[in-house]
Subunit: 670 residues, 2 copies
């Protein structure tokens, strides 16, 4: 049997070679200076300097690391169910994962953007994308809780997302895969791509106070693949830039057919003009379906609404809205420097990194320095937009971020290194190997108007021998560099959860002090809250049995429940009535086809249970909460359907008699 | 509205106080010496000294940390679905989570035991328990893959589990909650506990070669709560020891009613005698239902079998099998020293730690030094079994492990400290505060015949202010100590995933070199494997559509599929035909109500998709695998039910013509 006989143009083999090369760095040992230990050590009781929010990639969640320790502080459930705390399983959180396709338990979380005011990170919200079933989430940084998820119609592979404007006016999301628009017949031949497929960019508005998102409008664009994007800032305020690949508009064997052209595009969008057009009533109302899921902090319950319309601007109908800039070759990263003047397009198959000038782009537009059109969109002449090229940067440039000293840092996937270069003269200043094959890199504030210049993290795609082996499946590897000096210094390797696709970081002080410690019970407006043990009860409504339960060290009330019947729908509404930091309680019942609940102080969460067999079902607190945690348990008795066992329960004020029908002979002297 | 008015004897308030006290250690700053940084720093390219396997508690999984770095090397999915790699979602792994109650997506993973030969860790398997729906898993340490899960009948809250015998003859699992046996009517009044409920201990045999588990027999015991256990070793070989609480046999408000007696029990079981009885045909065949789920490494597919019978020994019918030893008060940990002579029972409500002597126990049995019986079981006199008491150890003793120098280390939950004491004279030698409220502690090999004496990790239940705050929900905290000197030295705090309930650690060399790097494709006997791109195909069988797909950098074959209809069941059988380490590929398709697949080299995994709407569905590789990873994608076209679009697909050798029905005007010069 012959394997791996790829006969197609040898390009697959080339890609393979690229990847293989990445695993043979010249300097595999990497000498680090002795004080790296001291630089990365955070002593017991001390705090990290930075919060580092890292996308989870194929785990669908967001990780929070501390820098410089590289310690994983938290995993925030966003797009995937999270058995650990019941996210996606509790009745309150299930609606968060609803889509126009129904409930989806997973997604692929690639990029993050921290909310900004005046181009600086303001610590209010974190936006996160889902690639597979296109969605954007908003996480509240007071609670580290996913408070909103909005689905994106007309999209597929929501990769160029979520990147925000300087004052968080919009979260912008570009589709990776062009598809037939949702109101057209999608049941078309795949090879009618050029005729029937379109690329869509979504502009999601963000309410200044609540953070609530809505799709303000969408831009219908030529069918290409949008890969990454960044907002203009400073001088380029009001513009947005997207990298585009597959300008060949191929629909099969993309590794070959989407790699033919020497240059693809950066797409420049005048988003302020788009917003004005929408305000002026332009655009087409399109019938679509998309879910808008919001978590209400008062009722502690998410609701999912299916919305049915979006306004679309077809960019070719609005001159001055969109321009293409040729960019070599299959551009991936699209990064804007702190001043907003320079736009860096990193062509993963290019041997140089072009830097475009916003002022030159504006002049080119004014003077109509166009090379032609592409699907009706003006294409600016390459030289007319170019500030200059970083020569011989390395192989496979992917992403660039910036420090506070006028330097840029670009990852080289194929040659496995980070290359530091000067924005001023585009000269390469330093290069450092990484282990292995970096995707994104991250400098705190490195894509904002105010980058810092202390740390850089490389998120590497290949791990191999960097840590103790754990079988065929390995954690991915991050590497922390000190970039405060002229030369980059490698400080630390640390493994990461999921696929740490991209990250953003912010000084701890921006977030630390606003962090909510617990929820005030008097603010709890969950309709099923029990405001104390005396308020607990069990109520039957037809087949539905509602158990209003409290959890407090070290007791679940009620802890004996009888009269549940096979065929009932039992809802355990568990309120944690603690009012102190870090006293969660958990709830689980044997045999339930769901996860546990983890209930934070002041919170109510609901577990739905469909008992299928008569019997005795213990339940208990799953989070070790006190010296008597093991005693925090109870029993639910399930009787056959039609049984006449009455609904009864025991609470602290309503203790059943212990009618020990048979006394065992207990004669021990203890 | 009045909250938290617990009127019951004030004991709940006492427990609350206990917990609160834990958060006010005297020495909150904890000065650590300057070289702690150097001691815990693992330089880039260097390896940790120890693998530390840590139970995930309420996340249901097992974590693998490196020591001394505290880095999380891997999260092994065991009892909970794992969207990150498709565990519990792929057709191959779904059966692993089957139970007699059906598929359960979550559990609560509390204890771990590494397989042993002659009382030493042999690096073959790791056993893990599930509390909520009682199960035991076996993880293969060559692949770090969960290869087997067995359900336990007659059990509920499988807490005293999985603890193994010295040569891994048995994995032993004691029920935490007594329940009516599975073949009795479980629909009984809860307050008939003393009459109808029983405690069950399961003895799971382990095949010496394959590791395959089976329930060898069960012991039916008096209705109490079994909390923890450990095997005898050396002089106590052939015996097993369990801590029992709720010897009051209460069924409600356990914090009060199960805390009444000054002494509960350690239960001593002569398991070699039990095995002989079974061999001699003793015991009752009991009709039960339990799932036995095994992953076949050849077919790469799990199967779940529901078994229907177990052999039960009622311990009161077999004199000499089981003895109770009084133990103050509500014992939690039950730990056996390296020699096997000393059994430490840690009563969480006791003000001392009793140490029992195996030889004295044997003498007491021989001389019938009994205080009476408990449910027909002899109760040995406390003094007759006692070696001595550790006086004033601290408040809330929970767990003890041992070093290689004759010392024991016990966690004090309430007084938040670790106390080191001498096995020789039971004198306290050292105490160190921990932050906060430790549950288990762990010394590599610390519950085997060959402990090491370098590191100790405390797994703490309360975190509060130890790390940058992350809202109300915090990671739990672990603390690494150097125990090589006379005094314990705190080296490092690190946050942990889930609830790191217990851990075991082993020198890296025991596991490192056996770690499988990838699966040989020629060994892949998955019935749906594609042994190369040329073998890919799409086959319709009625409503079922089987897509035989390959993944290799940078192509999915086939990448265009048409002729799928609404109402079909589509199975994507994706084979990763790479043959190199750390080249996984992923697979996801828009809108699927499942997770992704993560497919390791040489592996086949299957995603089931039920398309509900006609349209165009992109799919792609989710794991960034090469410079052309973004091109590794394709489209599936879904037509309405009854449509006559034929089933077609494109592969490298079967490319569809690109019939561009309308040529767009592309005049750009690039």
């Amino acid at each position: 049997m012959i394997l791996n006989k790829n006969k197609v143009l040898g390009l697959a083999a080339l890609a393979l070679l690229f990847s293989m090369n990445a695993c043979k760095p010249k300097n595999a040992g990497s000498v680090v200076s002795g004080d790296a230990a001291a630089q990365t050590y955070v002593a017991p009781g001390k705090y990290d300097e930075y919060y580092n929010f890292v996308s989870g990639g194929f785990n669908g969640q967001v990780s929070v690391y501390g820098l410089p320790s590289g310690r994983l502080l938290k995993l925030i459930p966003v797009f995937s169910v999270f058995p650990e705390n019941g996210y996606g399983y509790s009745e309150e959180t299930k609606p968060m994962l609803n889509t126009s396709h129904g409930m989806i338990p997973w997604d692929d979380q690639h990029h993050l953007d921290l909310s900004q005011t005046n181009g600086e990170i303001d610590g209010r919200w974190l936006f996160a994308n889902a690639n597979n079933t296109p969605r954007v989430a908003r996480i509240d940084l007071k609670t580290f809780h996913t408070n909103e998820i909005i689905e994106l119609p007309n999209s597929a592979g929501n990769h160029s997302s979520p990147f925000i404007t300087e004052n968080t006016e919009y979260v912008i999301a570009g589709t990776r895969f062009s598809v037939p628009p949702d109101d057209k017949n999608g049941d078309v031949p795949i090879n009618s791509y050029k005729k029937n497929f379109k690329g869509t960019i979504s502009f999601i508005s963000v309410d200044k106070t609540s953070g609530n998102m809505d799709i303000a409008f969408q831009l219908q664009c030529p069918a290409v693949n949008f890969d990454l994007s960044h907002s203009g800032k400073g001088v380029s305020s009001g513009w947005f830039f997207f990298s585009c690949y597959n300008t060949e508009q191929a629909n099969t064997l993309l590794e070959v057919n989407a790699s033919k052209r020497d240059k693809d595009f950066i797409m420049a969008v005048n988003w302020k003009k788009a917003a004005e057009l929408i305000k002026a009533g332009k655009g087409r109302k399109q019938a679509v379906k998309y879910a808008s899921n919001r978590y209400n902090e008062k009722t502690q319950t998410a609701t999912s609404t299916i919305k049915t319309q979006v306004t679309v601007l077809d960019v070719k109908d609005f001159p001055g809205l969109v321009y293409f800039i040729p960019c070599p070759k299959s551009p991936h990263g699209c990064d804007v420097d702190p001043s907003g003047e320079y736009i860096v397009g990193s062509g993963k198959l290019a041997a140089l990194v072009p830097v475009f000038s916003f002022s030159k782009i504006q002049k080119a537009i004014a003077s109509k320095a166009f090379a032609g059109t592409y699907d009706g969109i003006p294409v600016i002449k390459y030289e007319a937009a170019l500030y200059g090229e970083v020569k011989k940067p390395g192989l496979g440039p992917l992403h660039t971020e910036f420090d506070d000293k006028g330097n840029a840092y670009t990852t080289m996937f194929v040659s496995s290194e980070i290359v530091k270069w000067s924005l001023k003269d585009l000269k390469v200043l330093d290069r450092h190997p990484v282990y292995y094959s970096p995707g994104h890199l991250m400098i705190p504030g490195g894509d904002t108007r105010k980058p810092t210049g202390k740390y850089l993290v490389a998120y590497n795609k290949i791990t191999k021998d960097r840590f103790l082996p754990t079988g065929p499946e390995l954690a991915q590897s991050a590497q922390l560099f000190d970039i405060s000096g002229d030369k980059m210094k490698l400080l630390l390797d640390y493994p990461t959860i999921g696929e740490p696709h991209y990250g953003q970081a912010v000084k701890a002080s921006v977030i630390r002090d606003q962090s909510v410690k617990f929820f005030k019970i008097e603010d709890n407006k969950n309709p099923y809250v029990s405001m104390g043990e005396g308020a607990t009860k069990v109520v039957r409504e037809g087949k539905k049995v509602h158990v209003y339960m409290t959890a407090i060290r070290s007791h679940l009330t009620p802890d004996n429940i009888e009269g549940i019947k096979v065929g009932d729908e039992v809802y355990f509404h568990v309120t944690n009535i603690e009012q102190d930091w870090d006293v969660p309680h958990g709830f689980a019942i044997k045999g339930a086809k769901t996860a546990e609940l983890l209930i934070l102080p002041g919170e109510t969460a609901t577990l739905k249970w469909l008992p299928e067999q008569a019997g005795m079902y213990p339940f208990y607190c799953t989070d070790f909460c006190s010296a008597l945690h093991q005693e925090m348990s109870g029993y639910a008795r399930v009787s056959p359907a039609g049984s006449n066992v009455p609904l009864t329960f025991s609470t602290g004020t309503n203790m059943p008699k212990e009618t020990n029908t048979v006394e065992t002979q207990n004669t021990a002297s203890n």
